[in-house]
Symmetry: C2
Subunit: 108 residues, 2 copies
DNA sequence: TACTTTGTTCGTTATTTCACGAACTACGAA
DNA sequence: TTCGTAGTTCGTGAAATAACGAACAAAGTA
């Protein structure tokens, strides 16, 4: 009997979800979706973890493709990876069944 | 210096995201968002994992509050936990900045 | 060139996750 | 009551995750 193939989309969505699956990382993504960029140093200052731990979380977000860093010596400026963020938005939108059509009813 | 408090919403969103962070679980949720219910046995039949492993994944989804099982002897019928699913939708919608207002631009 | 700042990598430890098979439980059917 | 079906739980092992401090690398400043 043939086994189900889990779709590429489901795999991708799970990958993004996994990256979002920690409070610290969720915080960072939430922040970046609001203010376009941030510096790692500012985060360590306020988050209750040491810089090496933060670095690991940022690496996870980078590996998942959700954020990207830009060197602005001596610091690194992080922002969302717009392309992948868009993909994640689309995947979740679809997954959550928040169809594009639905909100249109709210017009007028 | 005071540390940032990660909001309740961020914690919750991270919790849901974590539960969605595995291809098998994403598959199950995706299925349930489409067809209202399913039976564990049918899943084992098609998914490339044994029943005990599936049981663990379903337990994770249950613990996260995303699904609920109803005994329909000798089987168990699973469906989304509507209340929490709604909460997850709202949290992600907000998080992904898919504001209700935004799609309005698409009108006319 | 030395110093400072910023962030990554390394080594370690504890915990969690994922997967499996075996054993167990619940319950309807023979 | 015995059997079969459906799922859960248990025990195990391998791998991944999370956290820390120490050491390291890169690059601007004194």
């Amino acid at each position: 009997m043939d086994k189900i193939i889990i779709t590429e989309e489901q795999q991708k969505a799970a990958r993004y979800a996994k990256a979002m699956g920690h409070p610290i990382r969720m915080y960072v993504l939430d922040l970046l979706s609001k203010q376009s960029c941030c510096y790692s140093g500012d985060l360590t200052e306020y988050l209750p973890i040491v810089k090496s731990t933060l670095s690991q979380h940022l690496k996870e977000l980078r590996d998942a493709g959700l954020i990207q860093g830009e060197i602005e010596a001596p610091r690194i400026k992080y922002c969302l990876n717009k392309e992948n963020w868009k993909e994640a938005q689309d995947l979740f939108l679809k997954f959550l069944k928040l169809e594009i059509e639905e909100p249109i009813q709210k017009c007028q």
